[in-house]
Symmetry: C2
Subunit: 389 residues, 2 copies
């Protein structure tokens, strides 16, 4: 096991009816900005529950945060923050809204290096910051884990740019599984697949004998494999246990715990980001296209863990090592198909001539040494994308 | 899954050499009281590492906290706390030292209800408190999980009394697995068994379909079953991966995570506490005696989970339900035997005439409705103890 630091102070309120917990979590003298996306929280009743809970608070709202939130949209929130002396953000939505709130929180108090204070530097130059507005979150779409981590991704000029800081980790998060019942199949699919791949990226590397981390990851993968498809089937999609298990898995998949003390390989995400940036494909659907090809191209480097994955997650016991690995990859693809997401570039109408642009973008963004060993060069990324055709 | 609240802000510093992290975790202007037990931290080098790390701090020390720490010992620390205006506690030791520090921290700032302020009320009357000194922990014995939870057990008049509060949860905990190399086999055994049973008590109840919690628990149980015996075998006992996996399992077993959203059954601990109180048997050794009998007596109530335990933790696939459950219980006992702890009252020279005293003590302490359903009456506790003879 590698040395590690781990801390996750986000207070989780899990269960039906927990939205009312925000009334006690947010100080009564706070000036709250409720940030959200489109109008879905108004039609599904979440908005009403939130404003009921804020009955004694002073609050304002900022809406219109889009999927893959953009810098330009998020910077618009600064006007109301200044005008109304906002000192607390409540993000109500999925990963995009919560990620957006994180950037708004950091930008509001950003002082830069003393000479200039352009919050764009947080994304463009990975400048650190020492203050951010406190954030609470009401999660409506289990997927990214943003509700209890300090990570965010913001888009500008067609590029997705990540930043992270413990200062933007939500102080609390409400996870009410009944809220997810109004999600579309596509949203559920994308969320389950995103959480699955977050887990894989902290698991499918090389072994450091981190038995707790491995088994926790395997437990999340098994749970998502079992429960994900049920959330799409008419007979089981309304089942709150199914929704609960998916929601808690997605949070645990990226709250820092399973990745503490083990190597990580975020190449699928990095290559996937370019697919979203260049062609506007849903984040999760880029991942389900890239991951199987990463598994195949990196079979030797990931051999030991692929075998463990085959045995423990898929219970494959027959055949030689290569056959077991191949079957595990095939079952992974079948799981994605059950989740109704693409597994090939051709499924989203891309072909070999689109690969050059993706490689160019990886190069422009300096993503030339990906993977747990930093040895996924542009050439290997090209190999991965070619195999994903 | 049941509704739940979960928050665990303890900052974990895991790995060889991490003791130096305390120099940054404790504010430089703090007046620190280092609390510890006997002299073992002086002979194994931990004490020296701690005082090296506190080189720029103002610190004092209080030693002599015994296993199953007593109220009388702990209250002696109040003198130096007052005399030196201590405002930070650093607990260096195992669960007893950290539990002791928690009581010291609460007692130091205890104001009671305004009429009297006897810290004994925290234990005797379960009085709540609103302030406690901040605590950091350097863990030397993986077992109780006390390093990242808000629970403690203190003994007075021969009775073990628990209390809990988020105010006494350590702000940070250093987990350096190399520190555990100087432990005796008996300390390692006790620690592994304690962590194993903590996990069982949050797992072996009735199913609420909490798939993440179940799989995390199963992962901890499997890890402890695999790694525990290795820590006793000459060929593997010095292996740092073994020590790391045990140490991280023990912390995760009782930091609140696996028990969030699921029913719990602490009857083994409650009955075990009386065995320690009445006969001075090591805490973990009371648990290994009581648990198999609890499993047998509560077989019907725990049937579904016992079958899951048999299948997933022990990979038992042959035989009918009863046979699989019986085999899982037998394998649990064999695991305890490998860990060199007793599984019967007769192993610690107790017999049927000692049971009356234990039942009497359970009654005196109001422990007449134990278990996940509160239906383990004194009569059933007697049945459990009788089966444990």
């Amino acid at each position: 096991m590698l040395n590690f630091n781990f801390q996750n102070p986000t207070h989780i309120h899990f269960g039906v009816g927990q939205i009312e917990a925000i009334s006690k979590e947010i100080p009564l003298n706070a000036r709250v900005l409720v940030v959200y996306g489109g109008g879905s929280i108004k039609s599904n009743g979440v908005y009403q529950q939130v404003i009921d809970a804020l009955g004694k608070h002073t609050w304002f709202e900022f809406s219109g945060i889009e999927p893959n939130p953009t810098y330009d949209t998020l910077m618009k929130a600064q006007d109301i923050i200044k005008a109304e002396s906002i000192d607390y953000l409540l993000a109500v939505g999925g990963g995009s809204v919560i990620d957006g709130a994180k950037f708004i929180a950091a930008a509001a108090l950003y002082e830069g290096n003393g000479e200039e204070n352009d919050p764009w530097d947080i994304l463009a130059k990975q400048k650190t910051f020492t203050k951010a507005l406190p954030i609470g979150a009401v999660l409506t779409l289990p997927a990214t884990g943003s509700e209890s981590n300090g990570n965010a991704v913001v888009t500008r000029y067609g590029n997705k740019r990540p930043f992270k800081s413990p200062l933007v980790r939500p102080l609390f998060a409400v996870l009410d599984p009944s809220v997810t019942l109004s999600l579309s199949d596509r949203q559920i699919s994308n969320g389950v697949v995103d959480a699955f791949i977050h887990t894989i990226e902290q698991y499918l590397t090389y072994s450091v004998n981190g038995k707790v981390q491995d088994r926790f990851s395997e437990g999340l993968l098994q749970t998502l494999i079992e429960e994900g498809p049920k959330a799409l089937l008419p007979a089981t999609k309304e089942n709150l246990d199914v929704r609960s298990n998916i929601m808690w898995s997605a949070t645990m998949a990226l709250n820092g715990l399973i990745g503490a003390g083990v190597p990580q390989d975020w190449s699928t995400h990095m290559i996937g980001h370019e697919l979203t940036g260049a062609f506007g494909i849903d984040h999760a659907r880029t991942l389900s296209i890239v991951l199987p090809a990463v598994m195949k191209v990196r079979k030797e480097q990931k051999r030991e863990k692929l075998l463990q994955y085959a045995t423990r997650v898929w219970q494959i016991t027959e055949g030689d090592d290569d056959a077991r690995i191949d079957q595990a990859i095939r079952l992974t693809e079948e799981f994605f198909e059950k989740m109704q997401v693409p597994t090939r570039l051709s499924d989203v109408d891309l072909d070999s001539k689109d690969i050059d642009l993706l490689i160019e973008r990886l190069q422009q963004n300096g993503l030339t040494a990906l993977g747990e060993q930093g040895d996924i060069t542009l050439e290997i990324s090209r190999e991965i994308l070619t195999l994903a055709l």
